[in-house]
Symmetry: C2
Subunit: 675 residues, 2 copies
């Protein structure tokens, strides 16, 4: 039996399984199913002769081209004979013999479409498999054993982890990482107990320690006070809450068909990618007046997160993480805990990704979807000017939230996509989890005479200053693909004559960005509204149909532009970029980010200064947080929240929720007794 | 019977009523009760001989001095023999014979403590009474009748309203307002149907029309499409929601004793003032570790809102409202609609203010208080680094919200004070209601060749550009009165040697503001954290105990500094000011704002450049919105939300909600059938 026969037989089996596991037809943007992941593995392993050493660093859906999707969608929506689904393809990045390869697989024909050896700088994402192996290496490495002995630590309680090391101007680089260790004795909070001063360098391809440093001994911070598990904490507990829940007596108001969601006036698709995590696609909103769905967002996801720490010393200077390209924001997603991570009315969706060996790994409850009823007011007015009448009309607000949590090492990121009936899409980010902590000799700020690059947060424990930059890919298709980017600047007009007692007022001066250079924006420098409009469509009143970006917390990079981490993260140099749609421009910091050199970021792509007027365009928006840790962030951080909004702006002819009624109050069941 | 006897007899009666209506002792910061308001009226009317023409423009609690309150509070908290309550006093501003008078009344002794004739610029708030009378004057004014006839309008459907006119450099000014009118025929949305070009000038003291203008005739926008009452709208309705509610089977988790609220770890007092609206006082948080309540906020309220419109033409140039000082943000509060304005688990509090004639006016359901459970995550972490274990700990978030809505003419402001168990106070603002609309001849933007100072939002209807500046008075008392204001600037350090491969990093350089001049801050100019700290207390680790301001949307005034409205609103020239506590510095834009000249704003007070280090200080923070209307804002605006946060920063030794458990899921009653 040759390789092709084996593949074919296997895939027949797989297809059978696939039918058994899915009771719905796959949407062209659905993430790869476990069967498909298995199929990719088989096809790829059979194609390459050295399959035994081959590792899978990325396996994801190779999306059909946008025109294909749109064609399928419109035929599907029109309910005339639907077009056949575009063929399912997968894209994989595998590595063997110290070389990365890209493979595109056709899942319908079970054939390899193309392969490519990766040249250039940068490596694919780290796999959990290799990180697990690398993290074990120190335990059989004599100098490390010596380091533990010197510190009097119990080896069985030591836990190590891998850290990417970036690029600092070196010539040829290997897939090296640093391995740093923690003392998990008497606590789950290992990050609070670092073995400071100790680091091994591991070559992931050779899977061996190629460097080791035990620079100094400082006390491992004590376990006391680090624990966050309720089962390990001692009373008193508090503050206490009474029972509270969101109740929907008629069941959820949304419908979920596989990964496609319909709710109120919204339709959208929830995808998953091992690297990007959640992907929201094909968001369209029903226009009550026009009596049809209208397109808003073709695709939105987080292509990169940049988290530079601000300690330049030996053990920390390289700590400038790219949580998507280095660690995989998707594979880092955590299983959500019902009732604690999501309210009682939430529904869940699982996710699957390919492990190092290509076999599917399940993340149970990876997504939750729920209707949010926070008690907010959708709109209201009280009118008292009409004699003998007081008119009050008010509507309470309900929205639909799609949530994931990605836990990249110590940090937990809560990512919400919230759809509001008024047409707004709110994108929320919550930062929680454990701080990046450094051990030191200090127990009180009085003792400190130098910069410790952070806040002394507990005895012998420093919370290092750092930033979080979240870059969003927002392929808005406002009523169609051909869109323009408009800056509506608010400009003061100085009155120079006597036509009015006013000396000044402001007005709006709009500029349409012609090329990419016009659309590089640092927020906060001047007051303006940023819009994506469809220049080919106007409202009845003649206004350009559009959506507006309401930015979240503004932070600009504080590293120098020519500093290595900033060269690699040059996509954060501006809060906003706009590019023409290009299927291959997806990962804002580059396709291969581990040890990258910044030669494949949007800052480079945009140098071509392409035309962006009346084109299919993509808005790239970076929201940032500078984080000066405080003692409240220890031993676990209360969520710090931020977010931004995409808001319809002359997209609708009028308030799209004018004729929405508040949800009915819940009817409680007829009850005989109270529990 | 002389006046004094009458007062005494009356007040005995009042005291009796007072006992009947209250089943709790008054807190020294409780707003004046209806009986007290009546008592003030009687005392004042008896004191002045001309009582028949006397109007009450402001009646409010004359708060005991801060040391008295603190002394009472500490004796009250310690549960040793509580100190007697400080005497209840009221402060009133009345007007007769074209003169304003300030009167302080002692409610215990029923005596007048002091009186003062008001000199200087600026007038007290408009009363609803005089606005109602003034709004009727056009109907008996021949030129106005002529104007209506010319336009063919049905007089019985015309509604007029009063608009303050500011100050534009005039010498002597009167209490003049403009009266503009609307056509409420076939709609509740009168603002959508202005009689553009027509305005009367009314002298409120003489209560007569002293000027009239009918400049031009433009079509009154049609009624069709302006209605927002569900009962008047035609199907289809939608988008539709399924029933949803927040449920608390054990009842609310907070306790309310009069105006004092306790919930989870928070205690605070909810006051009310006819001018300021809601006042949050004495907010303190229980520290589980220190086992005592610790002081956070002595007092917080909105002393002024500035809403300048950006149309310099005759009928609009003066439209630069001060919603607190001119219209009374408190008396403009609307009765909240259960289920629509607040969730089902809300409790309500009424408010009372003195009408023009001094008699109490009730605002039923003026406040709502509810536990908010929006499905958010308080903190969480998933740990996968410990072999053979996946640890997930997550806590869901509950907070307590105090909400009011103040409807100042066309606009509805939703003001939320949200207390979080993690120590944060989030202050939310929602903008909804009806836009300021101008009638015009245009029906399509194609026809427009000039600046129309707004957005063409419907046929013949322009939504005028405007701003909303909300200034907050925040008397933080972080663990005591003596506090300092610290700017923690994030500064880039350029590495000049070879000690690290990094070329740069950022660090924190803190400056303590010595005087007021050091604390005038325009946000967004440089990255910094703004803190109020107690320099006399430190955490165990030696960090300064503090609270941090996390600003909301940043907007700077776009009017020229020497333009008249901006001179009057000079408090918006900076986003942040810090002053030493001074009981008399309360109204950031001046005590008498109608037609004010900016001579009593914080910009003037601060010129003294007083010391603010280690003093009882007040933080004044201005959050702003520039509003470019869009068609979605018509005929009624979907809420636009913003807010800021006060966040404990090294206030606690550690995460104060580490030992909080998620609320219990609700136990549903044992049920026999479903409704």
């Amino acid at each position: 039996m040759d390789a092709t026969t084996k593949v074919t037989l296997f895939s027949i089996l797989m297809l059978f399984w696939s039918h058994a596991e899915c009771n719905h037809l796959l949407h062209p943007l659905d993430p790869l199913t476990p069967s498909e992941l298995n199929l990719v593995r088989t096809i790829v392993q059979n194609f390459y002769p050295t399959s035994q050493n081959l590792t899978f660093h990325y396996v994801g859906l190779d999306e059909p081209n946008k025109p294909e999707i749109l064609k399928w969608l419109s035929s599907n929506n029109s309910k005339i004979k639907p077009k056949p689904r575009p063929p399912r393809r997968a894209f994989a990045v595998v590595r063997f013999q110290k070389q990365s390869h890209e493979i595109t697989v056709d899942l319908s024909t079970h054939s390899i479409v193309s392969t490519k050896d990766c040249e250039g700088n940068g490596n694919p994402m780290l796999t959990f498999g290799e990180q697990a192996v690398a993290s074990q290496l120190p335990f059989s490495y004599e100098p490390f054993k010596e380091s533990l002995k010197k510190r009097g630590l119990n080896t069985s309680q030591v836990v190590c982890a891998c850290f990417t090391i970036g690029w600092f101007g070196e010539g040829k680089t290997k897939r090296n990482v640093k391995v740093k260790c923690y003392y998990a004795n008497d606590t789950a909070n290992l990050y609070a107990r670092p073995l400071e001063g100790v680091a091994a360098v591991v070559d992931l391809d050779d899977m061996k320690i190629v460097g080791y440093n035990d620079r100094y001994v400082v006390p491992v911070p004590k376990a006391e006070g680090t624990e966050y598990r309720a089962s390990k904490l001692k009373p008193p507990f508090g503050p206490k809450h009474k029972g509270i829940a969101v109740t929907q007596d008629g069941g959820p108001g949304f419908t979920k068909d596989g990964h496609s969601v319909s709710w109120a006036n919204w339709n959208f698709h929830v995808g998953f990618d091992i690297r990007a995590g959640p992907i929201i696609s094909l968001a369209s909103i029903y226009d009550l007046q026009k009596q049809r769905h209208r397109r808003v967002l073709y695709k939105g996801f987080i292509p990169e997160l940049f988290v530079p720490y601000q300690d330049p010393t030996e053990e920390w200077y390289y700590t400038t993480y790219f949580d998507s390209g280095e660690y995989g924001f998707g594979q880092s997603m955590s299983s959500l805990q019902p009732l604690n991570d999501c309210p009682p009315n939430a529904a869940f969706i699982d996710a699957y990704y390919a492990g190092s060996d290509g076999t599917p790994v399940k993340i149970a409850n990876a997504f939750c979807i729920f209707e949010k009823y926070a008690g907010d007011i959708m709109w209201r007015h009280t009118e008292i000017s009409i004699p003998n009448e007081v008119i009050t009309e008010a509507r309470s607000d309900v929205s639909l939230v799609v949530r994931i949590v990605s836990t990249v090492g110590n940090y937990d990121y809560v990512i919400d996509w919230e759809f509001k009936p008024n047409g707004c899409i709110k994108i929320g980010v919550g930062l929680t989890g454990i701080l990046g902590l450094k051990a030191g000799t200090y127990t009180n700020t009085d003792q400190i005479k130098e910069d410790i690059y952070g806040t002394l947060i507990a005895d012998n424990t420093i919370g290092i200053y750092h930033d979080h930059f979240f870059t969003y890919y927002l392929d808005l298709d406002i009523d169609g693909e051909a869109n323009s980017f408009v800056k509506s600047n608010l400009e003061t007009v100085r009155v120079k004559d006597d036509t009015t007692p006013r000396k000044s007022y402001w007005t709006v001066v709009s500029e349409t960005a012609k090329t990419e250079a016009d659309a590089k924006i640092n927020l906060g420098s001047k007051p303006s509204e940023l819009l994506v409009v469809n220049p080919n469509k106007k409202t009845k009143q003649g206004n350009k149909i559009g959506y507006r970006l309401l930015p979240g917390p503004v932070a600009h990079p504080l590293l120098l532009n020519d500093d290595y981490p900033q060269i690699r993260a040059a996509f954060t140099n501006y809060n906003v970029w706009v590019t023409p749609y290009n299927k291959s421009e997806k990962w804002v910091g580059g396709s291969y980010v581990d040890r990258s050199r910044g030669d494949d970021t949007i800052a480079i792509w945009s140098l071509r200064d392409r035309e962006i007027e009346n084109k299919d365009i993509v808005l790239w928006y970076t929201m940032g947080f500078h984080h000066v840790p405080s003692q409240e962030d220890y031993p676990i951080m209360p969520t710090l929240s931020g977010g931004f909004e995409l808001r319809p702006t002359n997209f609708f002819e009028r308030n799209p929720v004018l004729k929405t009624k508040s949800p009915k109050p819940v009817h409680f069941p007829n009850c005989t007794s109270q529990h």
